[in-house]
């Protein structure tokens, strides 16, 4: 899949240099769509899905100020 991404990208540059702007843009769009698909596939975990449970945040326990506004 990564090879297809770079193949479309290289083809876009080649077509652009040959003056074929329309097909070059289509190749670039194909490369970017494949990039998005591959990105989603790479970050998806069967265990966590798209979540990131290793990032944990907690509310800090702060004492209430007596007579505070």
């Amino acid at each position: 899949m990564m090879l297809a991404v770079f193949a479309f990208l290289a083809l876009a540059f080649l077509l652009d240099f040959l003056g074929r702007s329309g097909p070059a843009l289509i190749c670039l769009a194909a490369s970017l769509v494949l990039t998005l698909w591959l990105f989603a596939w790479e970050i998806y975990s069967p265990e966590y899905g798209f979540r990131m449970p290793w990032l944990q945040v907690e509310l800090e326990q702060r004492p209430l100020l007596a007579g505070g506004a």
């Binding site: 991404v5 770079f6 990208l9 652009d16 591959l38 990131m52 290793w54």
Partner: protein, 190 residues
Amino acid sequence: MKAISEAALAATLDRLILCLMLLALAGVLTAAMGFQYLDGEIPCPLCLLERVAMFACCFGLMRQLRDGGSQRGAGVAMISAVLLLVISVRQTLLDVVPRPGHAYIGAAVFGLHMAVWSVLIAIALLIGFAVRLAVLGGPNWPSPAQSSTLARLSTGLGVYVAILCAINFISVLVQCGFGQCHTTGYALLR
């Protein structure tokens, strides 16, 4: 007369900003390939996708430099910069908490790894485009001055980036073959 000279100045400044962006991206891509081939750092899949977003940004910049009468190239470059930001932020969040199987890959430059640098590069690109539009108003160039130094520089940079892209395509073929990419070695050299 004054209006014409102001328009010419805005067009030259616009071309200069775009050239600087292209030069910066070409430098980053060259450095990444230098680390790969000279230091033996095999890029991870998300690192390769960041390169794709950078190349796509270069494509938009080259197009904008060639056709100043339209803002389509700038649009392509901005979409690519957003894509670069999304990928690099996710990779940074993936590796920000070191745990088995997950840590930043490769050498750090000034203490920052490639993913974090990519976040900064994407933000810098987006700020650059915003400043370009805010200050210069996205000027339209009547016709490209092919003989100017900036025009020659942008053409040369475009050819250089296209050669880098071709080298990367061959490199990905050797690293990944037709399957998944791994950082353990080059698939076709085993």
